[in-house]
């Protein structure tokens, strides 16, 4: 059971404030939805937590350990996992190898054990064609592979960045089910960034709304959706529901 704490986090890019004084913590097997209009700072927030960027100010802690200035691979070992909005598979490796990476490098398992574990993980995610090269997978399989890749690092906190993008409604349903299963079985806290409100409604125990890098609202889906600020922000930024 892990806990992620974000304190007063700010990130500026050449004068532009992408994340503005954000305070947020969640953990356990909680699933929180992070929503907001385009450019609200959702992906930047994930990038800050996973160590792609370093914040301008503020603090990030996982299970009480300060990871604010830690390199990405060390955060992974401490239990921060994530997927990418634009998928980043390792094209020169097979699917199973893509997944083994996490077991080997963040949990220090041997190649043999990593392979067994990866196969088990694939089975549990209904990802059968694990011996193929990534280029032969379909979109749903790639999404599953991304999630498996992240799960292989044994995360306490898993951040999913628009993992549903590009899926049709059947595929969407399957993946939602999968994520629910994962959260329950693996006891992972999940932060999910999503545009499709249906997904958030289905999955999230709690919803955080970002606008211009700052938190606009934080609460249950129903609460947040009634918040006049949120309605204003969404009406201003287009209809996402």
């Amino acid at each position: 059971m892990s806990k992620l704490e974000i304190r007063n986090l700010t990130k500026k890019f050449a004068g532009l404030v992408a994340v503005n004084n954000v305070d947020l913590s969640f953990g356990g097997d909680e699933i929180i939805g992070i929503i907001g209009p385009n450019g609200a700072g959702k992906t930047t927030l994930i990038n800050l937590v996973s160590g792609i960027f370093y914040p301008s100010s503020g603090q990030i802690l996982i299970d009480g350990t300060d990871i604010t200035t830690m390199p990405a691979h060390k955060r992974t070992r401490l239990g921060v996992g994530r997927t990418f909005q634009l998928i980043h598979p390792l094209e020169d490796l097979t699917t199973i190898e893509n997944i083994m990476i996490g077991f080997i490098f963040s949990q220090d398992l041997s190649m043999k054990i990593a392979k067994e574990k990866a196969e088990m993980l694939c089975r549990s995610l209904d990802l059968d064609r694990w011996d193929r090269s990534v280029s032969q997978l379909n979109i749903l399989e790639i999404k599953k592979m991304e999630i498996a890749q992240a799960l292989a690092t044994n995360p306490g906190v898993l951040l999913l960045d628009e993992v549903m993008a590009g899926l049709n409604s059947d595929e969407l349903k399957e993946l939602i089910g999968l994520i629910k299963k994962v959260a329950k079985e693996k006891k992972v806290a999940i932060g999910i960034v999503e545009h499709v409100m249906g997904v958030i409604k289905e999955l999230a125990d709690r919803v955080v709304v970002l606008e211009n890098g700052a938190i606009l609202a934080d609460g249950s889906f129903q609460e947040v959706m009634k918040n006049p600020d949120v309605i204003a922000a969404y009406l201003g930024g287009g209809n996402y529901a």
Binding site: T76, H88, D92, Q149
Partner: protein, 317 residues
């Protein structure tokens, strides 16, 4: 352990190459030795290439290894074989110190920096006549094994097998996964727990050591070093061409490439004494045009039906 045909054939080849001097003359052996020098360079360069990093520092490390080996022999009287190994270690140390600074560079910036460092080593050696012989270089009182061709060949073969083994280990171990991940996408690699800098440093250090050992072998078997010949640009692009023509990212590629190009160049000059290098250049051009994935890559396509065979990141824009 079950004996697969692969292992049997591999053993036969090793035995054949050990027995090579008994059915081939000194000339063939010397060609084999030259091929091995370039093979080690091509293999080691290819090992670093798996991370996506293109090094032009081969000649620099080759020269450091050669000079270290000769200087250790001359100044401290250490036996030649030991100086070759020590030369490799010295080269590794130099490389790891350099790597701390330059391994965050990428693509052609990394390439040009390694090239520049190699040149700097050459200029330094050139300008310290009292220590390293300056522009003239240094000669050894004798060559390794007193010029015994058989032992020298086996020493070279040992170095070649060691390099092939190391490269094979890189292909099969978790290092392969780390390096390929770094090449394909650094962001994914680090988020999945790979310490990119650590692996780059490890590979850079090891491959530089191999290049240093090649330099030591060269210096000890010919008995001299000079700045011009030990840091020669021939040790940069020819091994790269060999690796590429054989097929990059594999162990077999550089090995096959070094043998094919090394043998072709000897063959050509027997028939075209004046101007054979034109044909040599043409062969390089034609192979690149018609076998863009190299010889081994072309074979894979034939056998696997695989279309693509790895790719290198596009230059930074």
């Amino acid at each position: 352990m079950k004996i697969s045909p692969k292992i049997v054939i591999f053993l036969i080849i090793i035995l054949l190459s050990i027995a090579f001097p008994f059915f081939a003359g000194p000339y063939q052996q010397s060609i084999a030795k030259n091929v091995i020098i370039y093979m080690i360079l091509a293999l080691s360069w290819n090992m670093l290439l798996k991370t996506g990093q293109i090094s032009f520092g081969l000649a620099g490390f080759f020269g450091i290894g050669a000079y270290a080996s000769v200087l250790l022999s001359l100044k401290l009287g250490i036996p030649p074989i030991l100086t070759i190994v020590l030369g490799g270690i010295v080269t590794s140390l130099v490389a790891s110190a350099m790597g701390m600074i330059i391994l965050r560079l990428r693509a052609m910036y990394f390439a040009i920096t390694t090239l520049a460092l190699g040149e700097i080593f050459r200029v330094i050696i050139h300008n310290v006549p009292n220590f390293a012989g300056g522009a003239h270089g240094l000669i050894l009182p004798g060559v390794i094994f007193d010029g015994n061709g058989l032992y020298t060949y086996w020493l070279f073969l040992g170095a070649a097998l060691f390099s092939i083994g190391l490269s094979y280990y890189f292909d099969k171990s978790k290092i392969h996964l780390a390096l390929t991940a770094i090449r394909d996408n650094e962001t994914t690699a680090k988020v999945r727990g790979i310490d990119i800098f650590k692996y780059l440093l490890i590979v850079f250090t090891i491959t530089a050591g191999m290049q240093g050992i090649a330099g030591g072998l060269y210096a000890q078997s010919f008995g001299f070093v000079t700045p011009e010949s030990s840091f020669s640009g021939d040790f940069i692009l020819l091994p790269i061409a060999m690796a590429l023509l054989g097929g990059i990212y594999t162990t077999a590629g550089p090995v096959v490439g070094a043998i094919v190009l090394g043998v072709i160049s000897e063959y050509l000059k027997l028939y075209i004494p004046y101007g054979h290098l034109i044909v040599y250049g043409l062969i390089i051009v034609i192979v690149i045009l018609f076998m863009p994935n190299g010889i081994i890559g072309a074979l894979y396509v034939k056998i696997d039906g695989r279309k693509t065979f790895g790719k290198v990141d596009q230059p930074n824009e």
